[in-house]
Structure formats: structure tokens, C-alpha cells
Symmetry: C2
Subunit: 362 residues, 2 copies
């Protein structure tokens, strides 16, 4: 069933030409129509298919780009991957996906594996790898773009001695939303609705930390105390447990919870309902991500939309651009390729209650 794959040499012989000529028709070089036909039918006959690894070797580039992703199983990350793939495919490039599994050691070893393939470029999604290992690893990589590696407008100066600012990085392009600002928006939204006892369930990794900082800063600016902070692990179950602890003593219950992400919110919903509390009447919930199912929770979840697919697309465009594959691209694409910070959006649904409307209309 598995005879040796025919090579360019076989085709050349079959067509009675040289390998160079075959290569030319394969690559749209100048060939006479006649020979072109002969060669093409020989190709057809033999079922020849070009060997891309040989091609990569001589061309010095593989046409595949590496993507390091925390977890394909995360809906948002999957969207990014999809965005990346969609634009890459238009240019006949492909990608190898590796999961960092949401932990640094795994990220590093995954990255090293990746680097051994001759990838032409690298996209790092939400990586927690620190600056120094990164720059060591990436020394010889032509182009790297980071998605969601903190392009904060207001660095979290106190919590991290030296902020993870990607702009300072080894030829690192960056795409992402303004995580800090978005989290502040979410918090302020609650404040504007008249909430004073606001809780936060943290998400993990650096974006989780940024959101926490934005949260506490926002409360501080509003002269509110931030006594209600619970650690989530980013999952539904973590959210459930965290919400439980938040709800445990009846006299000090928050009127609103800002969940680090939608999955956390799903867990929190469950906990809140178990306590026979109504959402949003008794407790309002706001979250982050806007995963596809967020609108189908009961009540539909108010949340910050992260445009995962767009982020992936932009990242891919940046790569194509730097790789010089974008000559013939539409202006629009080019423009998007240069942009660096994607806009987010607060999607109002019905999970937060307006405390003021009930009280006084002042």
C-alpha cells in the first residue's frame, strides 16, 4: 500500500525533462506551454506531491509558524487559534500548536520543542514566561508576536517589581486588549449602578493579576473598601468554591461580584443559587471574556467581550507583514496588521441590578 513516494526525479524522467524544469512548473517559473503540459500530466500520472521538507531545507524557511497556547480547550484561546489559522491559510502557511498547559515549566519545554522545528515565526498566547528565559530562547527567532501578554495602560507598579511590559521585549510585537482598563470599566460599571460592597474572584496568570489590580484601584478611586476578594483558579469549580466563601457569613454579603472570567461566573451562579439568592436582585454578577455560552446562562451574563478571533487574525497579519508576505494584501488587512490594541466591549445583559433606580431617583 505504501510504495516509495514519487520524487521530482521520477517526474522528470517520465516527462523526459530535467528536474529543474519540473521544479519550474511547480513554482510557476517560465516554461513553454508544451513542456508544461507534459510535466503536469506526468505529475498527475504518478500522483506526485511535492516534498515540503526538502523544499524547506533549501529555501531556509518552513512555511509553518509555531503557536504556544495555554490550552486549546479554553474557548477564548481556541478562538485565537482559529483566527490565526484563517489568515495563515490564505497565504498557504500552517501552524503547529503546542499547549503550555497553563504552567511555566510546560510552557518552556513546549517552546523548546517548537523551536527545533524550523518555524518561521512564533505566536505566544498569554504566556507567563519571564523576560530573561524568553529572550534567551527567542534569540534566533525571526519574528515573535505576543497575544495578551500585558499591554497595560497603567502598569501594576507595586505588585511586580518590574512590570511585564512586552513593548520592551526582544523584537516582540504585541496584540491584546487593554486588560487593565477593561477590568476597571467592569468595576466602575458596578459602582455606577450604586454598588458599594463589591467582591472579586480572581482569575489566574498575569491577566488575572492585572484585573485584580484594576479592581482594587477602581475601588480605591471611589473610596470603597475592597474587603471581598476570593481566589479562583479560573475554572467553574474554583468560582463555585470562591463564591461559597464569599457568601458564608450572612451579615457581610456583597451586593455584586466581579468574576475574573466567565467560567468563574458560571460557578458563582451555582453557588449563589444554592444560597437561595437571586441574580441580579440580591447579587449582581459581571465577568470577563464573553464566551459563546455566556448569553445562555440564567440570567444572561453581563461581561466584557474579548474578541479572540480578531486578536488571532491581527497577530497573524503582523507576522505575514514582517515576513514580507503581505505585498499584495488589501489596505484594510494591512491596517489591521499594524494595530496593536484591540477594542473590547462591555456587553450589558441582565446579571447586574441597578441599585439606584430602586432607591432614589436623584
Amino acid at each position: 500500500m505504501n510504495k516509495r513516494m514519487p520524487t521530482i526525479i521520477d517526474v522528470a524522467e517520465a516527462a523526459g525533462v530535467s528536474t529543474a524544469t519540473v521544479s519550474r512548473v511547480l513554482n510557476k517559473g517560465k516554461v513553454s506551454d508544451l513542456t508544461k503540459d507534459t510535466v503536469e500530466s506526468a505529475i498527475e500520472e504518478l500522483g506526485y506531491r511535492r516534498n515540503n521538507v526538502a523544499r524547506s531545507l533549501v529555501m531556509g524557511k518552513s512555511g509553518v509558524i509555531g503557536v504556544l497556547i495555554p490550552d486549546v480547550t479554553g474557548a477564548l484561546y481556541a478562538q485565537m487559534a482559529r483566527g490565526i489559522e484563517d489568515v495563515l491559510n490564505k497565504y498557504n502557511l500552517q501552524y503547529i500548536l503546542v499547549s503550555g498547559d497553563r504552567n511555566v515549566e510546560q510552557e518552556q519545554s513546549a517552546l523548546e520543542l517548537l523551536l527545533e522545528r524550523q518555524i518561521d515565526a512564533l505566536i505566544l498566547i498569554g504566556s507567563d514566561l519571564d523576560e530573561s528565559t524568553l529572550s534567551k530562547l527567542l534569540k534566533n527567532v525571526y519574528v515573535t508576536v505576543f497575544i495578551q501578554r500585558e499591554a497595560t495602560s497603567k502598569a501594576t507598579s507595586e505588585s511586580l517589581g518590574e512590570s511585564i511590559n512586552s513593548s520592551a521585549h526582544t523584537n516582540g510585537l504585541t496584540v491584546g486588549i487593554d486588560n487593565y482598563q477593561a477590568a476597571q470599566d467592569a468595576t466602575n460599571y458596578l459602582i455606577q449602578k450604586g454598588h458599594k460592597k463589591i467582591a472579586h474572584i480572581t482569575a489566574t496568570r498575569h491577566d488575572g493579576r492585572t484585573r485584580l489590580n484594576a479592581f482594587t484601584d477602581a475601588l480605591e478611586q471611589a473610596n470603597l473598601s475592597s474587603n471581598f476578594i476570593a481566589e479562583g483558579d479560573g475554572t467553574e469549580d474554583g468560582g463555585y468554591k470562591a463564591a461559597k466563601t464569599l457568601l458564608q457569613n450572612d451579615d457581610e454579603i456583597p451586593t455584586a461580584i466581579f468574576c475574573g472570567n466567565d467560567r468563574i461566573a458560571a460557578g458563582a451562579y451555582k453557588a449563589i443559587k444554592e444560597h437561595d439568592l437571586d441574580i441580579p436582585r440580591d447579587i449582581s454578577v459581571i465577568a470577563f471574556d464573553n464566551l459563546p455560552w455566556a448569553e445562555y446562562l440564567d440570567p444572561p451574563l453581563t461581561t466584557i467581550r474579548q474578541p479572540g478571533k480578531s486578536m488571532g487574525e491581527v497577530a497573524a497579519f503582523k507576522i505575514l507583514d514582517t515576513l514580507g508576505e503581505l505585498d499584495d494584501a488589501p489596505d484594510e488587512a494591512l491596517k489591521r496588521a499594524r494595530e496593536t490594541t484591540i477594542s473590547y466591549e462591555l456587553i450589558e445583559r441582565s446579571s447586574v441590578h441597578d441599585l439606584r433606580s430602586g432607591k432614589h431617583d436623584a
Copy 2:
């Protein structure tokens, strides 16, 4: 920033040995401890990293396997991808992911792109490609395994002239659940709970068709009429619309809906609630997949669990086995590698109502 990558030759010179020796230390061949050290430090010094495309060329295998997936963005598919990756990584293999985008043309062109890379094996997830194009394309691929390409226990003989039976396929290994049986179980579960007016909202593609067939067959076997069938497109919105039409004339409303998958169910939930109907009191819902959020719907969704990750793992094991990489593998892994049909599970939550208990306890 981007000087020429050091090659094995550079290392050889730096270490004062031949390239063969360097190659040997790279591949754990017999080398004296002394030279080994010298070479290794030279490697360290130069920051040498093996060029895997050259290696692939000479070895005749690339160490990457191709995965054709309908859509990374689908939670179940992502789980499969993750399962595949996890076991592959243990053996230092990687994968290229391509999305078929849930349509055949795209599937085919994606596949062709994939085949030009020298992938060592192929995993096809839920492909709708027909037998003939498949066998033409796959002529030279060493090993292919299909996930979820219908391993039905009871072929849907009437709807398809010739059933898509993978076992008949070109050296195609197969892993999947018994889709037909599972869908029958779901339907029968409803019947056992006393439901007589049962609706179905179809999912797409071949597994959707199989489920539909199982549904009608099950009803037939129970002497129930199957008047309530609506076409979904597999998405929440499709489910919403389909449920709407199901609910439109008040005198003929089903007491239960079997949704082709969880996403459809989410949409159906929304429609049902908009009609001021209670789940499960007025309408019961059962679905398929058990996506991570299914348990967080209100009420928690009763559904058939598909173990996506396991399916991916098994598929990967099959490949490793056929590729002969599994010599040193634990028995357990080996055993799993040979299995072909994965067990599913009906997860009872609270979205279906028992009609009998309310009426008569006979």
C-alpha cells in the same frame, strides 16, 4: 539580531571533532564521555539547536502528524485535539492542525495542504469526506485514524445508499462512541420517563444524521409517531429558532425535546423560557456532548457525555502503535490503543421530568 543559525558543522569545528560525532552525541550514540562533554559544551556555547527539517529529510519522517478538525472552536473537538497532543508530546511528536470549517470543500483543500508537509500520520476528526476522494487522497499516507467517522452498530441503511462505514476504509483505524446507540439511549430515556410527544432538533453532518435516524427508529420501536422534527444547524441560534418553530402552535407542543447537541439545547432553553414554559415541568430537554458548561445551565442539562479527550488519546496511541513508537509503553496504554469504541454515558441532571411519577404509580 538574526545571524545564521549554527549548524552541526560549526559545532564540530568548535569541538574539534567530526560532524558524525556531533550527530552521535545528539542521538545518544556511542561516544566517549570526554568527547561527549566537549561537544555538549560547544553546543551550549554556540546556542546550537538541531535543524529538524534536515533531519526529517534524511530520516524520511517528520515527527509531525496532521490533524484535520472540523473547528478548533468546537469544545468537543478542542478536547480531542488536547488528548492527541498530550500523548503525542510524550513521544516528542507534534501536530499540525487544520480546520475543515465544517464543510467538505474546505476539508479537502485543507487535507491537501496537510499532505504536502511530510506528515507521518493523519487523524481525521468527524470528516464528511466521501470514500472515493478520501482513498484517492490518502493513497500514500502510512497511517490514518478516524475519530467519529461513524462506527455505527446499526447502519442507517435507508438514508444513505451506501453507509459510511469506516471499517471498510483504506487501512483506516477508527475511534468513536456508538453514536447510534447513544442517541437511541437518549430517546429511550425520554420514553421511559413517560414522554410520548417527543421532538428532535437535528445536529449537522453525519453524526447528526445518525442521531436523527436513531431517534426515529427508537420512536418507531415504541410505536410513537415522530411528528416533531426540526432542523438545527448545530449552533445555539439554530437551536433557538428550531425550538421556536416547535413551540409555535400551542395545541401541539411536545413534552420533551432531544437536542442533537448541547449548543442546540442552550438555544432551545432560551426559546422555551421565552414562551414562559418551565424546564423540565412543561418541557424536558436532553442533549448530547456534555460540554463543560452544560451543568451550569438552568436547570442543569441532562445529556450524553462524549469523552473527547479520551478519544483523542486513543487515536494518538493507535498512531504511535502503528508507527512502532510504542515498544516501551505501559501495558495499559497499549490496551487502550487497540480499543476502538469508547464508552459514552448518560448524565442525569435535572432537565427531564418524570411524567409517570406524577400521574399514576402503577
